[in-house]
Protein backbone atom coordinates (compact mmCIF):
# COMPACT_ATOMS: atom_id res chain seq x y z
CA UNK A 1 0.00 0.00 0.00
CA UNK A 2 1.26 3.48 -0.86
CA UNK A 3 3.22 5.83 1.39
CA UNK A 4 3.02 9.60 1.01
CA UNK A 5 5.98 11.88 1.67
CA UNK A 6 6.07 15.63 2.29
CA UNK A 7 9.14 17.77 1.70
CA UNK A 8 9.23 21.40 2.86
CA UNK A 9 12.77 22.17 4.01
CA UNK A 10 13.39 25.11 1.68
CA UNK A 11 11.65 26.75 -1.29
CA UNK A 12 9.82 23.63 -2.46
CA UNK A 13 6.67 22.15 -1.02
CA UNK A 14 6.81 18.67 -2.51
CA UNK A 15 4.49 15.71 -2.17
CA UNK A 16 5.37 12.28 -3.47
CA UNK A 17 3.70 8.90 -3.35
CA UNK A 18 5.64 5.65 -3.43
CA UNK A 19 4.28 2.14 -3.62
CA UNK A 20 6.66 -0.72 -3.03
CA UNK A 21 9.73 1.27 -4.11
CA UNK A 22 7.96 2.63 -7.16
CA UNK A 23 7.43 6.37 -7.44
CA UNK A 24 3.82 6.84 -8.51
CA UNK A 25 3.52 10.59 -7.94
CA UNK A 26 5.90 13.51 -7.44
CA UNK A 27 4.22 16.93 -7.35
CA UNK A 28 5.54 20.24 -6.13
CA UNK A 29 4.81 23.90 -5.61
CA UNK A 30 7.87 26.10 -5.67
CA UNK A 31 8.29 29.49 -4.06
CA UNK A 32 9.73 31.82 -6.67
CA UNK A 33 13.03 33.19 -5.36
CA UNK A 34 13.24 35.99 -7.95
CA UNK A 35 16.18 38.18 -7.06
CA UNK A 36 15.58 38.35 -3.32
CA UNK A 37 16.37 34.80 -2.23
CA UNK A 38 14.36 33.07 0.45
CA UNK A 39 12.71 34.83 3.36
CA UNK A 40 11.84 31.95 5.74
CA UNK A 41 8.55 33.38 7.00
CA UNK A 42 7.32 34.20 3.50
CA UNK A 43 8.31 30.75 2.20
CA UNK A 44 6.50 29.08 5.12
CA UNK A 45 3.39 31.08 4.31
CA UNK A 46 3.67 30.00 0.67
CA UNK A 47 3.93 26.36 1.76
CA UNK A 48 0.95 26.67 4.09
CA UNK A 49 -1.25 28.05 1.34
CA UNK A 50 -0.13 25.40 -1.19
CA UNK A 51 -0.05 22.34 1.07
CA UNK A 52 -3.58 21.22 0.48
CA UNK A 53 -3.59 21.57 -3.30
CA UNK A 54 -0.19 19.90 -3.69
CA UNK A 55 -1.25 16.93 -1.58
CA UNK A 56 -4.47 16.62 -3.60
CA UNK A 57 -2.72 16.76 -6.94
CA UNK A 58 -0.12 14.18 -5.84
CA UNK A 59 -2.88 11.83 -4.74
CA UNK A 60 -4.76 12.42 -7.97
CA UNK A 61 -1.78 11.72 -10.19
CA UNK A 62 -0.82 8.63 -8.18
CA UNK A 63 -4.22 7.10 -8.77
CA UNK A 64 -4.26 6.02 -5.13
CA UNK A 65 -7.07 6.97 -2.82
CA UNK A 66 -6.28 8.80 0.38
CA UNK A 67 -7.73 5.95 2.42
CA UNK A 68 -5.18 3.51 1.02
CA UNK A 69 -2.19 5.38 2.46
CA UNK A 70 -0.23 3.22 4.84
CA UNK A 71 2.03 5.92 6.34
CA UNK A 72 2.99 9.57 5.96
CA UNK A 73 6.62 10.66 5.89
CA UNK A 74 7.94 14.20 6.23
CA UNK A 75 11.27 16.01 6.29
CA UNK A 76 12.56 16.38 9.85
CA UNK A 77 15.54 18.47 8.72
CA UNK A 78 17.93 19.97 7.93
CA UNK A 79 16.18 23.05 6.61
CA UNK A 80 14.53 26.32 7.49
CA UNK A 81 12.57 26.06 10.76
CA UNK A 82 9.35 27.81 9.69
CA UNK A 83 9.22 25.77 6.47
CA UNK A 84 9.89 22.46 8.19
CA UNK A 85 7.14 23.21 10.68
CA UNK A 86 4.55 23.61 7.90
CA UNK A 87 5.55 20.22 6.49
CA UNK A 88 5.33 18.59 9.90
CA UNK A 89 1.93 20.16 10.51
CA UNK A 90 0.54 19.00 7.16
CA UNK A 91 1.98 15.48 7.59
CA UNK A 92 0.88 15.03 11.18
CA UNK A 93 -2.62 16.28 10.42
CA UNK A 94 -2.93 13.84 7.54
CA UNK A 95 -1.48 10.94 9.54
CA UNK A 96 -3.74 11.64 12.53
CA UNK A 97 -6.81 11.87 10.34
CA UNK A 98 -6.02 8.58 8.62
CA UNK A 99 -4.75 6.88 11.77
CA UNK A 100 -1.46 5.86 10.11
CA UNK A 101 2.15 6.24 11.31
CA UNK A 102 4.01 9.55 10.94
CA UNK A 103 7.60 8.95 9.89
CA UNK A 104 10.36 11.59 10.13
CA UNK A 105 13.01 11.49 7.38
CA UNK A 106 16.38 13.21 7.11
CA UNK A 107 16.46 15.34 3.97
CA UNK A 108 20.05 14.51 2.98
CA UNK A 109 19.60 10.78 3.52
CA UNK A 110 16.50 10.97 1.30
CA UNK A 111 18.45 12.63 -1.54
CA UNK A 112 21.11 9.93 -1.34
CA UNK A 113 18.68 7.04 -1.04
CA UNK A 114 16.53 8.08 -3.99
CA UNK A 115 19.59 8.51 -6.23
CA UNK A 116 20.95 5.16 -5.09
CA UNK A 117 17.57 3.61 -5.82
CA UNK A 118 17.17 4.91 -9.37
CA UNK A 119 20.86 4.38 -10.25
CA UNK A 120 20.61 0.84 -8.89
CA UNK A 121 23.71 1.18 -6.78
CA UNK A 122 24.60 -1.03 -3.86
CA UNK A 123 27.03 0.85 -1.67
CA UNK A 124 28.12 4.12 -3.27
CA UNK A 125 30.08 7.09 -2.06
CA UNK A 126 27.79 10.10 -2.38
CA UNK A 127 28.52 13.76 -2.98
CA UNK A 128 25.44 15.52 -1.67
CA UNK A 129 25.41 19.10 -2.86
CA UNK A 130 22.57 21.56 -2.44
CA UNK A 131 21.91 25.09 -1.29
CA UNK A 132 22.49 24.55 2.39
CA UNK A 133 24.46 21.31 2.36
CA UNK A 134 27.65 20.00 0.82
CA UNK A 135 28.79 16.65 2.16
CA UNK A 136 30.67 13.54 1.11
CA UNK A 137 29.03 10.51 2.70
CA UNK A 138 28.95 6.75 2.54
CA UNK A 139 27.26 4.06 4.56
CA UNK A 140 29.42 2.60 7.33
CA UNK A 141 30.02 -1.12 7.40
CA UNK A 142 30.00 -1.40 11.18
CA UNK A 143 26.73 -1.80 13.05
CA UNK A 144 24.51 0.05 13.68
CA UNK A 145 24.86 1.22 10.11
CA UNK A 146 24.74 4.92 9.49
CA UNK A 147 25.90 7.39 6.88
CA UNK A 148 29.39 8.55 7.74
CA UNK A 149 30.33 12.07 6.72
CA UNK A 150 33.84 11.93 5.28
CA UNK A 151 34.07 15.52 4.23
CA UNK A 152 31.91 18.61 4.19
CA UNK A 153 31.82 22.33 3.77
CA UNK A 154 33.39 24.23 6.64
CA UNK A 155 31.21 27.27 6.01
CA UNK A 156 28.41 27.60 3.43
CA UNK A 157 26.84 25.12 1.02
CA UNK A 158 27.99 25.30 -2.60
CA UNK A 159 24.47 26.07 -3.82
CA UNK A 160 24.11 28.91 -1.37
CA UNK A 161 27.43 30.26 -2.60
CA UNK A 162 26.27 30.17 -6.23
CA UNK A 163 22.94 31.80 -5.31
CA UNK A 164 24.57 34.66 -3.42
CA UNK A 165 26.97 35.23 -6.30
CA UNK A 166 24.05 35.23 -8.74
CA UNK A 167 22.31 37.89 -6.63
CA UNK A 168 25.46 40.04 -6.51
CA UNK A 169 25.82 39.72 -10.28
CA UNK A 170 22.12 40.58 -10.69
CA UNK A 171 21.36 37.35 -12.51
CA UNK A 172 17.77 36.22 -12.61
CA UNK A 173 16.60 33.87 -11.28
CA UNK A 174 19.37 34.14 -8.72
CA UNK A 175 20.63 30.57 -8.60
CA UNK A 176 23.22 28.15 -9.92
CA UNK A 177 21.80 27.44 -13.36
CA UNK A 178 21.90 31.16 -14.16
CA UNK A 179 25.56 31.21 -13.15
CA UNK A 180 26.21 28.20 -15.40
CA UNK A 181 24.48 29.90 -18.32
CA UNK A 182 26.44 33.14 -18.06
CA UNK A 183 29.71 31.23 -17.47
CA UNK A 184 29.63 29.56 -20.87
CA UNK A 185 32.71 30.46 -22.89
CA UNK A 186 34.31 32.47 -20.10
CA UNK A 187 38.04 32.58 -19.42
CA UNK A 188 39.80 31.90 -16.16
CA UNK A 189 40.62 34.54 -13.57
CA UNK A 190 42.57 33.36 -10.52
CA UNK A 191 40.45 32.36 -7.50
CA UNK A 192 41.24 31.02 -4.04
CA UNK A 193 41.02 27.23 -3.86
CA UNK A 194 40.34 25.82 -0.39
CA UNK A 195 40.41 22.10 0.21
CA UNK A 196 41.50 20.73 3.58
CA UNK A 197 41.76 17.00 3.30
CA UNK A 198 38.20 15.99 2.50
CA UNK A 199 36.69 19.26 3.73
CA UNK A 200 36.31 22.45 1.74
CA UNK A 201 35.28 26.06 2.27
CA UNK A 202 33.51 28.46 -0.07
CA UNK A 203 33.25 31.78 1.77
CA UNK A 204 36.65 33.08 0.63
CA UNK A 205 35.90 32.10 -2.95
CA UNK A 206 32.57 33.92 -2.83
CA UNK A 207 34.13 37.08 -1.41
CA UNK A 208 36.82 37.07 -4.08
CA UNK A 209 34.34 36.46 -6.89
CA UNK A 210 31.98 39.25 -5.84
CA UNK A 211 34.88 41.66 -5.40
CA UNK A 212 36.02 40.94 -8.98
CA UNK A 213 32.61 41.69 -10.47
CA UNK A 214 33.33 45.36 -11.18
CA UNK A 215 36.70 44.85 -12.87
CA UNK A 216 36.05 41.70 -14.89
CA UNK A 217 33.21 40.52 -17.05
CA UNK A 218 30.47 38.59 -15.24
CA UNK A 219 31.07 35.79 -17.72
CA UNK A 220 34.74 35.34 -16.73
CA UNK A 221 34.08 35.58 -13.00
CA UNK A 222 31.16 33.16 -13.16
CA UNK A 223 33.25 30.72 -15.19
CA UNK A 224 36.18 30.85 -12.78
CA UNK A 225 33.96 30.60 -9.72
CA UNK A 226 32.16 27.57 -11.06
CA UNK A 227 35.31 25.78 -12.24
CA UNK A 228 37.04 26.40 -8.91
CA UNK A 229 34.13 25.38 -6.70
CA UNK A 230 33.44 22.17 -8.64
CA UNK A 231 37.14 21.27 -8.81
CA UNK A 232 37.33 21.59 -5.03
CA UNK A 233 34.34 19.29 -4.59
CA UNK A 234 35.79 16.82 -7.04
CA UNK A 235 39.19 16.72 -5.37
CA UNK A 236 37.75 16.15 -1.89
CA UNK A 237 35.45 13.46 -3.30
CA UNK A 238 38.36 11.77 -5.04
CA UNK A 239 40.24 11.57 -1.74
CA UNK A 240 37.20 10.00 -0.08
CA UNK A 241 36.86 7.52 -2.98
CA UNK A 242 40.38 6.28 -2.44
CA UNK A 243 40.01 6.24 1.34
CA UNK A 244 36.80 4.24 1.31
CA UNK A 245 37.67 2.10 -1.72
CA UNK A 246 34.15 2.52 -3.11
CA UNK A 247 33.58 1.47 -6.72
CA UNK A 248 30.39 3.49 -7.14
CA UNK A 249 30.01 7.24 -6.98
CA UNK A 250 26.83 9.23 -7.11
CA UNK A 251 25.99 12.85 -6.76
CA UNK A 252 22.65 14.19 -5.58
CA UNK A 253 20.96 17.35 -4.34
CA UNK A 254 20.07 20.53 -6.18
CA UNK A 255 23.59 21.30 -7.42
CA UNK A 256 23.84 17.77 -8.86
CA UNK A 257 21.69 19.16 -11.68
CA UNK A 258 24.79 20.94 -12.98
CA UNK A 259 26.06 19.31 -16.15
CA UNK A 260 29.59 20.63 -15.59
CA UNK A 261 29.78 19.08 -12.12
CA UNK A 262 28.51 15.79 -13.53
CA UNK A 263 31.09 15.87 -16.28
CA UNK A 264 33.92 16.44 -13.80
CA UNK A 265 32.80 13.76 -11.37
CA UNK A 266 32.27 11.31 -14.23
CA UNK A 267 35.79 11.91 -15.47
CA UNK A 268 37.23 11.49 -11.97
CA UNK A 269 35.28 8.28 -11.35
CA UNK A 270 36.36 6.86 -14.71
CA UNK A 271 40.01 7.44 -13.84
CA UNK A 272 39.51 5.11 -10.85
CA UNK A 273 37.41 2.60 -12.82
CA UNK A 274 34.38 3.45 -10.70
CA UNK A 275 30.80 3.72 -11.85
CA UNK A 276 29.26 7.18 -11.72
CA UNK A 277 25.55 7.82 -11.40
CA UNK A 278 23.12 10.66 -10.97
CA UNK A 279 19.32 10.73 -10.81
CA UNK A 280 16.98 12.75 -13.02
CA UNK A 281 16.72 16.44 -12.24
CA UNK A 282 13.24 16.04 -10.79
CA UNK A 283 14.74 13.86 -8.06
CA UNK A 284 17.80 16.07 -7.50
CA UNK A 285 15.69 19.12 -6.90
CA UNK A 286 13.89 18.94 -3.56
CA UNK A 287 10.92 16.62 -3.88
CA UNK A 288 8.40 14.62 -1.88
CA UNK A 289 9.02 11.29 -3.64
CA UNK A 290 12.40 10.82 -1.97
CA UNK A 291 10.81 11.39 1.43
CA UNK A 292 8.08 8.87 0.66
CA UNK A 293 10.68 6.38 -0.56
CA UNK A 294 12.72 6.51 2.65
CA UNK A 295 9.61 6.60 4.84
CA UNK A 296 8.49 3.38 3.18
CA UNK A 297 11.91 1.78 3.74
CA UNK A 298 11.83 2.80 7.42
CA UNK A 299 8.32 1.45 7.81
CA UNK A 300 9.14 -1.89 6.16
CA UNK A 301 12.24 -2.32 8.32
CA UNK A 302 9.86 -2.47 11.26
CA UNK A 303 12.22 -0.96 13.80
CA UNK A 304 10.58 2.22 15.02
CA UNK A 305 10.25 5.63 13.46
CA UNK A 306 12.30 7.87 15.70
CA UNK A 307 11.12 10.97 17.45
CA UNK A 308 8.77 13.22 15.49
CA UNK A 309 9.48 16.92 15.46
CA UNK A 310 11.88 19.01 13.43
CA UNK A 311 15.60 19.65 13.60
CA UNK A 312 16.99 22.50 11.51
CA UNK A 313 20.45 20.97 11.68
CA UNK A 314 19.60 17.31 11.44
CA UNK A 315 22.74 15.51 10.22
CA UNK A 316 22.77 12.42 7.99
CA UNK A 317 25.21 10.74 10.38
CA UNK A 318 22.66 11.02 13.20
CA UNK A 319 20.33 8.59 11.42
CA UNK A 320 20.59 4.88 12.12
CA UNK A 321 19.98 3.05 8.87
CA UNK A 322 17.63 0.22 9.71
CA UNK A 323 16.57 -0.68 6.18
Amino acid sequence: MPVLGIESSAHTFGVGVVDNGKIIANEKSMYSIGTGGMVPGAVAEFHASNARSTISSALASSGASIKELEAVGYTRGPGLGPCLRVGLLAASTLAARLGVPLIPVNHGVAHIEVAKHVCRMRDPLALYVSGGNSQIVALSSSRPRRYTVYGETLDIGVGNMLDVFARSARLEPAWGSSVAKVARGGSYVEMPYTVKGMDFAFAGLLTKATSLLGGHSTKDVAYSLQETAFSMLCEATERAMLLTGRRELLTCGGVAQSSRLREMLGSMAASHHARFGVADNALNADNGAMIALVAEKIMRSGSGYGRTGINQRDRPDSVIVTW
Partner: protein, 210 residues
Amino acid sequence: MRVIAEGAEARIYAADILGIHAVAKRRERKSYRINQIDTGLRSQRTRVEARILGIAAAVGVDSPRPLLVHDCEIVMSDVGGTTLRSVLADNELDENAVARMMRAAGSNLGRLHHANIAHGDYTPANIVVAPRARLAVIDFGLSEVTQSIEAKAIDLLLMKRSVDPLRFSDFLNGYRSSFRGADKVIRRLLAIERRGRYKTRTLLVTDDAP
Protein backbone atom coordinates in the same frame (compact mmCIF):
# COMPACT_ATOMS: atom_id res chain seq x y z
CA MET B 1 60.23 3.99 -12.22
CA ARG B 2 58.27 1.69 -9.97
CA VAL B 3 55.08 3.01 -8.34
CA ILE B 4 55.19 2.23 -4.61
CA ALA B 5 52.13 4.12 -3.45
CA GLU B 6 49.21 5.93 -4.98
CA GLY B 7 47.27 8.64 -3.24
CA ALA B 8 44.44 10.86 -4.41
CA GLU B 9 46.85 13.63 -5.25
CA ALA B 10 50.14 12.04 -6.10
CA ARG B 11 51.98 8.89 -7.04
CA ILE B 12 55.08 7.82 -5.15
CA TYR B 13 57.84 6.17 -7.16
CA ALA B 14 61.00 4.43 -6.06
CA ALA B 15 63.91 6.44 -7.38
CA ASP B 16 67.65 6.16 -7.38
CA ILE B 17 69.79 9.27 -7.21
CA LEU B 18 73.50 8.59 -7.74
CA GLY B 19 73.09 5.24 -6.08
CA ILE B 20 71.19 6.65 -3.12
CA HIS B 21 67.80 5.11 -2.51
CA ALA B 22 65.16 7.80 -2.76
CA VAL B 23 61.47 8.29 -3.44
CA ALA B 24 59.82 10.60 -5.92
CA LYS B 25 56.42 12.11 -5.30
CA ARG B 26 54.70 13.35 -8.40
CA ARG B 27 51.44 15.24 -8.42
CA GLU B 28 49.63 13.93 -11.45
CA ARG B 29 47.49 15.96 -13.76
CA LYS B 30 43.77 15.75 -12.98
CA SER B 31 41.57 15.37 -16.04
CA TYR B 32 38.58 16.99 -14.34
CA ARG B 33 40.29 20.32 -13.67
CA ILE B 34 40.90 22.97 -16.29
CA ASN B 35 44.60 23.46 -17.01
CA GLN B 36 44.83 26.93 -15.50
CA ILE B 37 43.67 25.62 -12.12
CA ASP B 38 45.39 22.27 -12.28
CA THR B 39 48.89 23.34 -13.26
CA GLY B 40 49.14 26.20 -10.80
CA LEU B 41 47.77 24.14 -7.95
CA ARG B 42 50.08 21.19 -8.47
CA SER B 43 53.25 23.21 -8.76
CA GLN B 44 52.31 25.52 -5.89
CA ARG B 45 51.52 22.60 -3.58
CA THR B 46 54.76 20.91 -4.55
CA ARG B 47 56.78 24.02 -3.72
CA VAL B 48 54.99 24.45 -0.38
CA GLU B 49 55.58 20.82 0.53
CA ALA B 50 59.28 21.04 -0.31
CA ARG B 51 59.61 24.18 1.76
CA ILE B 52 57.86 22.57 4.72
CA LEU B 53 60.07 19.48 4.48
CA GLY B 54 63.01 21.86 4.77
CA ILE B 55 61.56 23.59 7.83
CA ALA B 56 60.75 20.24 9.49
CA ALA B 57 64.35 19.14 9.14
CA ALA B 58 65.58 22.50 10.43
CA VAL B 59 63.53 22.22 13.63
CA GLY B 60 64.84 18.72 14.29
CA VAL B 61 61.94 16.60 13.09
CA ASP B 62 63.18 13.59 11.15
CA SER B 63 61.50 13.60 7.77
CA PRO B 64 62.37 12.99 4.15
CA ARG B 65 64.98 15.49 2.88
CA PRO B 66 64.02 17.16 -0.35
CA LEU B 67 66.79 16.39 -2.84
CA LEU B 68 65.31 17.80 -5.98
CA VAL B 69 62.20 19.82 -6.66
CA HIS B 70 61.08 20.05 -10.21
CA ASP B 71 57.72 21.30 -11.43
CA CYS B 72 55.20 18.97 -9.80
CA GLU B 73 57.66 16.49 -8.45
CA ILE B 74 59.79 16.19 -5.32
CA VAL B 75 62.58 13.67 -5.10
CA MET B 76 63.34 13.04 -1.45
CA SER B 77 65.38 10.77 0.74
CA ASP B 78 63.77 7.53 1.88
CA VAL B 79 63.41 7.41 5.67
CA GLY B 80 62.96 3.63 5.64
CA GLY B 81 61.30 1.73 8.46
CA THR B 82 57.65 0.80 8.99
CA THR B 83 54.69 2.97 9.91
CA LEU B 84 53.76 3.50 13.52
CA ARG B 85 50.32 2.32 12.52
CA SER B 86 51.57 -1.16 11.67
CA VAL B 87 53.90 -1.23 14.70
CA LEU B 88 50.90 -0.49 16.94
CA ALA B 89 48.76 -3.04 15.13
CA ASP B 90 51.41 -5.77 15.51
CA ASN B 91 51.23 -5.35 19.26
CA GLU B 92 54.70 -6.84 19.77
CA LEU B 93 56.26 -4.00 21.74
CA ASP B 94 56.02 -3.68 25.51
CA GLU B 95 53.95 -0.85 26.95
CA ASN B 96 56.99 1.25 27.86
CA ALA B 97 58.32 1.18 24.34
CA VAL B 98 54.89 2.15 22.98
CA ALA B 99 54.59 4.98 25.51
CA ARG B 100 58.05 6.21 24.50
CA MET B 101 57.05 6.20 20.85
CA MET B 102 53.82 8.04 21.48
CA ARG B 103 55.69 10.68 23.49
CA ALA B 104 58.21 11.04 20.68
CA ALA B 105 55.38 11.35 18.14
CA GLY B 106 53.85 14.07 20.33
CA SER B 107 57.11 15.87 20.73
CA ASN B 108 57.65 15.86 16.96
CA LEU B 109 54.25 17.44 16.41
CA GLY B 110 55.01 20.00 19.14
CA ARG B 111 58.15 21.00 17.29
CA LEU B 112 56.27 21.33 14.03
CA HIS B 113 53.56 23.43 15.66
CA HIS B 114 56.15 25.61 17.33
CA ALA B 115 57.49 26.28 13.84
CA ASN B 116 53.91 27.07 12.74
CA ILE B 117 53.51 23.99 10.61
CA ALA B 118 50.19 22.19 10.77
CA HIS B 119 50.71 18.74 9.30
CA GLY B 120 47.15 18.21 8.10
CA ASP B 121 47.14 14.42 8.38
CA TYR B 122 49.08 13.56 11.52
CA THR B 123 48.08 9.95 12.18
CA PRO B 124 50.12 6.81 12.92
CA ALA B 125 50.01 6.02 9.18
CA ASN B 126 52.22 9.03 8.52
CA ILE B 127 54.73 8.39 11.29
CA VAL B 128 57.53 6.02 10.47
CA VAL B 129 59.51 4.01 12.99
CA ALA B 130 62.95 4.19 11.43
CA PRO B 131 65.94 2.04 12.42
CA ARG B 132 67.02 2.33 16.10
CA ALA B 133 63.42 3.31 17.04
CA ARG B 134 63.85 6.83 15.70
CA LEU B 135 60.57 8.38 14.61
CA ALA B 136 60.20 10.19 11.34
CA VAL B 137 57.24 12.14 9.99
CA ILE B 138 56.17 11.69 6.37
CA ASP B 139 53.61 12.99 3.89
CA PHE B 140 53.44 16.72 4.25
CA GLY B 141 51.09 16.89 1.27
CA LEU B 142 48.29 18.50 3.28
CA SER B 143 50.55 20.63 5.48
CA GLU B 144 50.49 24.37 5.73
CA VAL B 145 52.51 27.09 7.31
CA THR B 146 50.02 28.72 9.63
CA GLN B 147 49.59 30.31 13.03
CA SER B 148 46.04 28.99 13.22
CA ILE B 149 45.25 27.36 16.56
CA GLU B 150 42.36 25.64 14.84
CA ALA B 151 44.57 23.93 12.24
CA LYS B 152 46.91 22.75 14.98
CA ALA B 153 44.02 21.47 17.08
CA ILE B 154 42.75 19.49 14.10
CA ASP B 155 46.15 17.74 14.01
CA LEU B 156 45.55 16.66 17.62
CA LEU B 157 42.00 15.61 16.87
CA LEU B 158 43.09 13.35 14.03
CA MET B 159 45.63 11.64 16.27
CA LYS B 160 43.11 11.34 19.08
CA ARG B 161 40.67 9.58 16.74
CA SER B 162 43.38 7.19 15.56
CA VAL B 163 44.77 5.78 18.83
CA ASP B 164 43.38 4.60 22.15
CA PRO B 165 42.99 7.13 24.99
CA LEU B 166 45.96 5.95 27.05
CA ARG B 167 48.27 6.33 24.08
CA PHE B 168 46.87 9.72 23.30
CA SER B 169 47.68 10.93 26.80
CA ASP B 170 51.30 9.80 26.32
CA PHE B 171 51.20 11.62 23.03
CA LEU B 172 50.01 14.83 24.69
CA ASN B 173 52.77 14.61 27.30
CA GLY B 174 55.32 14.56 24.51
CA TYR B 175 53.48 17.37 22.72
CA ARG B 176 53.54 19.61 25.83
CA SER B 177 57.23 18.91 26.38
CA SER B 178 58.30 20.46 23.10
CA PHE B 179 55.76 23.24 22.55
CA ARG B 180 55.03 26.08 24.92
CA GLY B 181 51.74 26.93 23.22
CA ALA B 182 50.47 23.37 23.71
CA ASP B 183 47.80 24.12 26.30
CA LYS B 184 46.11 26.70 24.12
CA VAL B 185 45.84 24.16 21.29
CA ILE B 186 44.60 21.43 23.63
CA ARG B 187 41.89 23.77 24.91
CA ARG B 188 40.81 24.39 21.32
CA LEU B 189 40.71 20.64 20.72
CA LEU B 190 38.20 20.29 23.56
CA ALA B 191 36.13 23.13 22.12
CA ILE B 192 36.14 21.55 18.66
CA GLU B 193 34.97 18.24 20.07
CA ARG B 194 31.93 19.94 21.52
CA ARG B 195 30.82 21.15 18.08
CA GLY B 196 27.99 19.13 16.56
CA ARG B 197 29.78 18.27 13.36
CA TYR B 198 32.71 16.65 15.14
CA LYS B 199 30.65 14.53 17.50
CA THR B 200 29.70 12.03 14.85
CA ARG B 201 32.21 12.63 12.13
CA THR B 202 34.99 10.52 10.70
CA LEU B 203 38.05 12.65 10.13
CA LEU B 204 40.60 10.34 8.67
CA VAL B 205 42.21 11.36 5.44
CA THR B 206 44.27 8.23 4.99
CA ASP B 207 42.71 4.95 5.89
CA ASP B 208 43.78 4.27 9.44
CA ALA B 209 41.10 1.76 10.26
CA PRO B 210 42.84 -1.08 12.08
